[in-house]
């Protein structure tokens, strides 16, 4: 944040509360809407959803093939949901020589019902402006130093298609059961700012 002082503005708490009052009074917002929405969002829209999809893809070649053709259907198959305006989920497959990374340069769109709410850095102007133009440098700064031979594919979420990265399975985890595999899949790996190959068995 800059040091800009905006003392004349009412506090954010007051402004947010005022909007809630107006929506309750004049747009018939149910009394419990905020509490119920928040509980649902916090409980249902979590990184573990995408992690389960990834773990399933690692262990079930047919699911993996379906997922790469139609990510939306693959998510629904496991019971995960989308808001009305997330019309497509496209799954991007990392390989030994291809690395995918996602961003939204215009705002901060993400498949939040599948990979969880975007982290703060994903919404920062710095990440949004730089990862498209200096992808290799930004990834290195974030701890992912890719070989020069790795092809980087950047995906800018500028329409209502949402993306997630399918990371490569760490060799040390071959043979693990699905539920154990799901525990090693991080949100960063599905955004594409990290890879998982180094995970130890």
């Amino acid at each position: 944040m800059t040091g800009t002082k905006r003392e004349a503005h009412a506090s954010l708490e007051k402004r947010a509360a005022a909007l809630e009052i107006v929506l309750r009074r004049k747009a018939d917002m149910p009394k419990n809407f905020v509490a119920e929405f928040t509980e649902h969002a916090d409980d249902a829209w979590i990184t573990a959803n995408g992690a389960q999809m990834v773990a399933r893809a690692w262990t079930d070649p047919e699911y993996r093939a379906r997922m790469l053709v139609d990510g939306t259907a693959a998510a629904r198959e496991l019971g995960f949901e989308f808001p009305e305006h997330h019309r497509n989920l496209v799954v991007l497959e990392n390989t030994a020589t291809v690395h995918n990374v996602i961003v939204c340069t215009l705002c901060s769109c993400t498949a939040y019902t599948i990979i969880g709410a975007a982290p703060d850095w994903y919404k920062d102007l710095d990440y949004r402006a730089r990862v498209v133009r200096e992808s290799r440098t930004v990834l290195r700064e974030m701890g992912l130093d890719l070989p020069a031979t790795t092809e980087i594919r950047v995906w800018d979420t500028t329409a209502d298609t949402r993306y997630m990265v399918l990371p490569m399975q760490p060799p040390a985890t071959i043979g693990w059961p699905v539920q154990k595999l799901a525990t090693i899949v991080t949100q960063d790996s599905m955004i594409g700012v990290t890879r998982l190959e180094q995970v130890k068995g």
């Binding site: 004349a8 007051k14 509360a17 909007l19 929506l23 929405f37 133009r133 200096e134």
Partner: protein, 189 residues
């Protein structure tokens, strides 16, 4: 009117997230109107505002523009200043439908319009290849201005970073989801 005691103990961020969801779910506004209301914030306010303050400001602006609230009402509720986004300008309708194939080379129109537009500046006028087509969605330049927004496909278009930013970029394949109306055919030589 005095500001009432806080309705619950949530912090303001999840509250704003829920209010935004309610506004979208009940069609008080659509996502493009919401995004454009954020874009209409004054630059200094936009840059200095935390993420969810931008959401809050957009919702307040739209509630007033839709006739659900007045500024006086909001300011009396907060007993202070309630900054809003700037006024809504004209939008534009989609262009005549055209079709593109996977693998086809296309050019992004080099257009700069004042209203809501979902084509990032860095691909305008640039040439790329279509790698994926998605189901039709409302044309944002119309939807963001409460105009009749025809549905049209979006295409994932692949560009070379070195074509977008000669000499200054890390080499990569940059993919951008582009609405049909933003694209034009490239005549083969």
């Amino acid at each position: 009117m005095k500001y009432p005691s806080a309705p619950h103990n949530e912090s303001w961020r999840p509250l704003v997230r829920a209010l935004q969801a309610f506004a979208i779910e009940t069609h008080i506004c659509n996502m493009d109107e919401f995004r454009h209301a954020i874009e209409r914030m004054t630059p200094r306010h936009y840059i200095s505002a935390p993420y969810f303050e931008r959401h809050l400001t957009a919702i307040a602006t739209l509630l007033i523009e839709k006739g659900i609230a007045t500024l006086e009402e909001l300011e009396s509720l907060v007993d202070g200043e309630f900054p809003l986004s700037g006024p809504l300008g004209p939008g534009r309708l989609p262009f005549a439908p055209q079709s593109f194939a996977i693998g086809e080379t296309v050019r992004v129109k080099n257009e700069f319009v004042s209203g809501h537009v979902r084509v990032p500046a860095y691909i305008r006028g640039k040439t790329g290849t279509i790698v994926h087509a998605s189901t039709p969605t409302p044309f944002p330049d119309a939807a963001g201005h409460n105009m009749q927004a025809e549905m049209e496909p979006t295409y994932d278009v692949r560009f070379r970073a070195s074509d977008l930013w000669p000499d200054t970029s890390d080499e990569a394949l940059n993919h951008v989801a582009v609405f049909q109306s933003y694209l034009e055919k490239v005549e083969s030589a």
